[in-house]
């Protein structure tokens, strides 16, 4: 019974996403689901460990290019491609993580931004022979059908992406409730105390960095398979703030914040870009307004209201277990 209570929120959220597919365009839904996975990694870094990174496009590109290299040069199975992308993100995170997690706050944000710039120029100018520069790698026609869910068909890719996103969300939910999740929150605000309780801040942060960026690489690999194409634009530093914005918009540190943020951001982008030419400027102003009105983000503001509405709980001081 407890297990059901634990799971029902996640299942309901993804059931709603699945149902939305019937009345919302498929490309929009696919983008929302992949962007949700992208933002889940960023949300974990900011919300749990207190690391703001403006270099997430770099990790997205690591996953996307690792997957693309496999599908362009070596194989044709998209599932293997996604696994290669995840592995690529994992290896890169393990290599650079020990260097980066020693930094805090603004230094961490900027060193990641620098990484995104490096990756952008590597893919665009330095490694042109293998990345094909701005032309990118096109491999849609090389991707073969997979048994069960055929990822070459957008409708079936959506189901696959939804299952992957659900698994990632459930994994983060588990982490939230683990001792490790509590240690992440603890190191975020009081590393001295955690150290003198006998925990190792460095390994806790390193693991968080690896988990979050491997998730980001997974999103990158899924973008690669879905689009059948990757280009340096994916690592563009001009898109560095996107996952951070989505995280803040949805609600930092909340389980469903990345999904809500991805729906809101992609929705705003789609709707407003059709109506206004300089849509990014308008979205900028809109975001400033939302942040000022609801600094907890959309889900962070709505969740307590929904809880009260649905369960008619008495208004008490906030407790840590609410989500």
């Amino acid at each position: 019974m407890n297990a059901l209570k634990w799971w029902w929120g996640i299942l309901l959220a993804f059931a709603l996403l699945g149902v939305s597919r019937t009345f919302l365009p498929l490309p929009f839904m696919n983008e929302v689901v992949i962007f949700s996975i992208y933002a889940m990694g960023c949300n974990f870094l900011i919300g749990r460990v207190g690391y703001i990174s403006f270099g997430q496009p770099a990790y997205l590109a690591f996953g996307a290019y690792a997957c693309a290299f496999y599908l362009f040069y070596f194989g044709t199975n998209p599932l293997v491609g996604i696994m290669v992308g995840v592995l690529g993100g994992l290896v890169v995170s393990l290599v650079i993580g020990p260097l980066f997690v020693r930094l805090r706050s603004d230094y961490f944000a900027m060193v990641n931004l620098a990484l995104a710039v490096i990756v952008f120029y590597l893919t665009q100018k330095v490694l042109v022979d293998i990345t094909k520069g701005d032309n990118g790698l096109w491999f849609m026609t090389r991707i073969t059908s997979t048994p069960g869910l055929d990822l070459t068909i957008p409708g079936q890719f959506f189901i696959f992406a939804l299952i992957v996103a659900l698994a990632v969300c459930a994994f983060y939910k588990y982490l939230d409730d683990s001792i490790y999740g509590a240690c992440c929150l603890a190191t975020k605000i009081n590393e001295n105390k955690l150290q003198f309780l006998g925990y190792d801040n460095f390994s806790i942060r390193l693991l968080a960095f690896v988990i979050a960026n491997t998730t980001t690489a997974l999103a990158g690999a899924m973008y690669a398979v879905y689009l059948g194409f990757v280009s340096p634009e994916m690592a563009s530093p001009s898109r560095a703030a996107d996952p951070v914005i989505v995280t803040l918009l949805g609600g930092v540190g909340t389980l469903f914040g990345p999904i809500v943020g991805a729906i809101a951001y992609t929705g705003m982008k789609d709707v407003i870009s059709k109506l206004i030419g300089n849509w990014e400027l308008f979205i900028g102003f809109l975001l400033v307004f939302i942040m000022l009105v609801a600094d907890q983000g959309i889900w962070g503001t709505l969740a307590p209201l929904l809880e009260k509405l649905l369960w008619r709980r008495k208004a008490t001081l906030p407790v840590a277990t609410k989500r």
Binding site: L175, D177, I179, Y180, A182, A186, F196, G198, D200
Partner: protein, 270 residues
């Protein structure tokens, strides 16, 4: 039993620490005995917190070494010291304000009973440990049941202090090192915290750094008084009558009052 025949738990040998031109701790030798309740007293800037930080591994000494049960721990990390059985608190209340009271206790309890390897942290959930009998009993004995699910940032200072000490006791260290645990508390809260600490007497070695002797009157079994980075007196409460202690700690200059009275006497005579 004479202190000399008791087992030494922590020993400082010629420990010094300098910050720029300030000699914060100067060649201090000290011994902490098993299961005693000892105190470090001194006025502001006497070097007691720096010395405490050297004992607990927060600072590395410039000179000298720290031994724990005969083992040199001078260069050990705080995690290694915790594994050996040393646990410290901080002068300013130091808790995880973004976690609930019970999850703060779970983190302290977990470290005492399981290794802090990432694998153990990942496979164990807070949910499971929140029901542990020892944690529930601690909540009750520290009068924290009512606020168990509340985020720590919503607690009052007295509740936070009680919770912090509860964390340290739950972690079951052999040596409990408390840095001004009574600072900022109301009289009633001080009594509550001391009552809790009294329950630990004889079970754990306790070292308390305190600024005000009135707070820990009748609680400490042995104390040292520090001034300008040195130990100027050591022993029972009678050492507070030491002229140097009276001068540095209470700003009572016996020699001045003696000479004043002598000159008064001389005046009377003349």
């Amino acid at each position: 039993m004479s202190p000399d025949k008791r087992t030494v738990v922590i020993k400082a040998e010629g420990v010094s620490k300098r910050f720029g031109t300030v000699q914060a701790v100067d060649q201090v030798d000290y011994q902490l005995y098993e299961n005693e309740v000892a105190g470090i007293l001194g006025s502001n800037g006497a070097g007691k917190t720096t010395f405490f930080n050297l004992l607990t591994g927060y600072y590395l000494p410039d000179e000298g070494r720290i031994l724990y049960q005969g083992q040199d721990v001078t260069r050990m990390t705080p995690q290694q010291r915790v594994s050996l059985g040393m646990m410290r608190s901080f002068q300013l209340t130091s808790t995880f304000d973004n976690l609930s009271v019970i999850d703060n206790l779970v983190l302290a309890f977990f470290r005492a009973h399981k290794s802090a390897s990432l694998w153990q942290l990942l496979i164990n959930t807070c949910r499971k440990h929140r029901k542990d009998e020892k944690i529930l009993a601690t909540l009750a004995s520290f009068d924290l049941e009512r606020v168990a699910d509340r985020l720590v940032k919503h607690l009052g200072l007295g509740e936070k202090r009680r919770m912090e000490i509860a964390m340290e006791i739950l972690a079951e260290p052999k040596v409990l090192l408390l840095d001004e645990p009574l600072a900022g508390l109301a009289e009633s809260e001080i009594k509550g915290v001391l009552d809790i600490l009294r329950q630990q007497v004889g079970k754990q070695t306790i070292l308390i750094v305190e600024h005000k002797i009135s707070h820990v009157q009748d609680f400490l079994q042995r104390l040292i008084v520090m001034h300008e980075g040195r130990i100027i007196a050591e022993g029972g409460y009678e050492c507070l009558q030491n002229p140097e202690v009276r001068k540095s700690y209470w700003q009572i200059d016996d020699s001045a009052s003696e000479s004043a009275s002598a000159s008064a006497d001389a005046g009377e005579v003349s």
